[in-house]
């Protein structure tokens, strides 16, 4: 049986995490969207707000209640903290005929992620696989990742572009958290069921006022998450998807989607699993000092696939196809999992509303069989 945290005591959880030295980062309202940033108190959470999402469309709206987590994922993802958008890798100084490398000494912050959804836990697990578990470890990611404290939240509603059920990544958190909350608004009552997923989590929980849940409270929480399953705004049939996309390399749908694709790279930037970056070397005017910077990059830019002699993916068609087939098909060969967690960000934040679930459906339904 889970424990119960009354909503009026949520602030204490933030205080305990802060007292333990964590920088608490959480959803918060900025510029008409719910983004992730450092918060000081529960007042910084998007209490009473929700989001309406569709292809190329995101709107904040007031809820009729005071839910703290009554919305879905926004334009940011936790990758901005674990895999920073821009980071200096090292500096170098001219010395005689050569140069001396000055390694980057970064104070890695201790983040407490507050309000992580199940699809996002899956996205972080994918990054762990790509950036830590493979032959070459990304030290920037690893140093940050090791220190994270994760407060997950089971989704009490699904958004218009959500399809975690299709991807088997939610809406209930099943791993990768220290604490998981389910928010319950039941008439006058407002509480969270709390479960721990780690020793770290249990230690934090021991410092906040909790009581054992009644059977009825636990059932209400379970029911809320079960209802979320039925609310998914999008559906993606993943049956044989790896082979489907490989077989349809020359499907006419790729030309059709390319006519709408802006190659602006928004989908890859908002995707919680896209991890590609570019490296830039800069020098000062005197040529005495140099720096190497890493920045998020995208398979939608021309520079990304520029090799000696030219660009190997010059058309929008080839770039969209590369992105989608990597995400849903080649990723499986490479990392033994799909690269998509069904969060729907690429649909909501595509300026022209290109819908990855719709693209798969179109190819599946109009496939010309041999």
């Amino acid at each position: 049986m889970p424990d119960i945290l009354e909503s009026k005591n949520l602030q204490q959880l933030i205080e305990v995490l802060s007292a333990d030295g964590y920088r608490v980062v959480a959803p918060t309202v900025r510029d008409n969207a719910i983004i992730y940033d450092e918060i000081a108190t529960v007042a910084d959470l998007p209490k009473g707000w929700t989001d309406k999402q569709d292809g190329g469309n995101y709107r904040l709206e007031k809820r009729k209640d005071d839910a703290f987590f009554g919305y879905n994922v926004g334009p940011h993802s936790w990758k901005k903290f674990l895999h920073p958008p821009v980071t200096r890798l090292f500096r170098a100084k001219l010395e005689g005929n050569g140069f001396q490398v000055v390694p980057e000494v970064e104070e890695t912050p201790d983040f407490a992620f507050f309000g992580v959804r199940s699809c996002e836990l899956h996205a972080i697990a994918i990054h762990d696989r790509v950036l830590i578990d493979e032959q070459f470890v990304d030290p920037v990611y690893q140093a940050r990742r090791e220190k994270i404290f994760t407060v997950a939240v089971n989704c009490g509603q699904a958004g218009g572009t959500c399809f975690c059920v299709s991807m088997n990544t939610g809406p209930k958190a099943s791993f990768g958290y220290d604490i998981v909350l389910t928010e319950v608004l039941d008439g006058e009552r407002h509480y969270f069921t709390v479960e721990t997923g780690s020793e770290k989590g249990a230690e934090v929980m021991s410092k906040i006022p909790l009581r054992k849940a009644e059977a009825e409270e636990s059932e209400t929480a379970e029911k809320i998450v079960a209802e979320t399953v039925l609310q998914m705004g999008r559906y993606l049939d993943t049956t044989g998807i790896r082979d489907l996309l490989i077989r349809n390399y020359d499907h006419p749908r790729w030309d059709e989607v390319a006519s709408r694709c802006l190659t602006c790279a928004n989908c890859t930037m908002v995707c919680p699993t896209c991890f590609c970056s570019t490296v830039e070397d800069v020098t000062d005017l005197k040529g005495h000092a140099a720096e190497r910077w890493r920045k998020w990059d995208s398979c939608f830019t021309l520079d990304f696939s520029y090799i000696h002699g030219g660009n190997v993916r010059s058309s929008a068609k080839s770039r969209y196809r590369q992105w989608m087939t990597h995400k849903l098909s080649a990723w499986i060969d490479q990392f033994e999992t799909s690269g998509c967690v069904g969060c729907g960000r690429c649909i909501t934040w595509c300026p022209t509303g290109i819908d990855i679930t719709e693209e798969v459906r179109a190819i599946r339904e109009t496939e010309v069989s041999d």
């Binding site: 958008p85 802006l262 005197k286 520079d303």
Partner: protein, 261 residues
């Protein structure tokens, strides 16, 4: 000691804003002056040093027969020629004349139009001479200008992206004004470089840096119409500082037969 490379800054039809970006470098300007012999820069100093110049920065567009001769001469005395700003790279706002009859303008504006010697088109520098690098923007970004000069000093490729403004918004964590506010924004078809200033202030991008590397203007216009923009509004949007940059020109012309005024 090694001879310092000689820099020249030239002006054609323009507002001077891009040259000012060099003066606006302030602290960094001293560093530039320490490494480069600023040999010809009338905006900053009347003292001039004769060519040849190692690096010429050219601002402004070609609008008169005299300009045509002058740019040929500048090319001859410049080892490297870099154009700066929307005028030099795309013809600038004054390229709006390219869509109209310049003779008619001069007859309306000037008492003695026969004194006016002008071309019927405002053209980018690259239409007349070979250009080694184009730095876009209206005005250019001073950090990008310093990057181009630093890269030139080290004989390396400048780190100047040609992807969309959207990438800059996302690197900064700026919320998309198009998806979240329904604001028409040229960011998806516009070259990065400004630091995505307008969306940070909840405004759509105006396209000051001209078309990005692979602009799909037609698709963006379709979405603008969904957001409520009229044909005339879309055309006016593309008829800005980069009206004659190829992709923007093409998109603007699509609405020509639909013009109501």
């Amino acid at each position: 000691m090694k001879r310092k490379p000689k820099l020249a800054v030239w002006k054609f039809a323009s507002c001077d804003g891009c040259q000012l970006s060099l003066l606006a470098c302030e602290d960094e300007l001293l560093a530039v002056a320490g490494q480069i012999d600023i040999a010809y820069f009338p905006e900053a100093s009347r003292a001039t040093v004769k060519g040849k110049y190692d690096l010429s920065l050219v601002e402004g567009s070609i609008t008169t027969p005299h300009d045509v001769e002058r740019i040929q001469g500048i090319r001859r005395v410049s080892k490297h020629l870099v154009t700066i700003g929307a005028c030099a790279t795309a013809g600038g706002i004054q390229a709006l004349r390219n869509f109209k009859d310049v003779g008619e303008f001069t007859r309306i504006v000037y008492a003695r139009p026969e004194y006016i010697s002008t071309l019927d088109k405002s053209a980018p520098i690259s239409e007349h001479v070979k250009v080694d690098f184009e730095l876009h923007g209206c005005p250019i970004n001073k950090h990008q200008l310093l990057e181009v000069i630093s890269a030139f000093m080290s004989a390396r490729k400048p780190n100047i992206p040609s992807h969309s403004v959207c990438v800059e918004c996302k690197l900064k964590g700026t919320v998309c004004v198009m998806a979240a506010h329904g604001a028409p924004c040229l960011g998806p078809v516009t070259r990065a470089g400004c630091g995505a200033i307008c969306p940070k202030f909840l405004r759509g991008c105006y396209g000051c840096f001209g078309p990005m590397e692979t602009p799909n203007t037609e698709s963006l216009s379709t979405q603008w119409k969904v957001l409520g923009a009229t044909d005339a509004e879309i055309q006016r949007t593309y008829r800005g500082f980069n009206a004659c940059a190829e992709a923007f020109k093409k998109e603007g012309l699509r609405y020509d037969d639909k013009e109501t005024d």
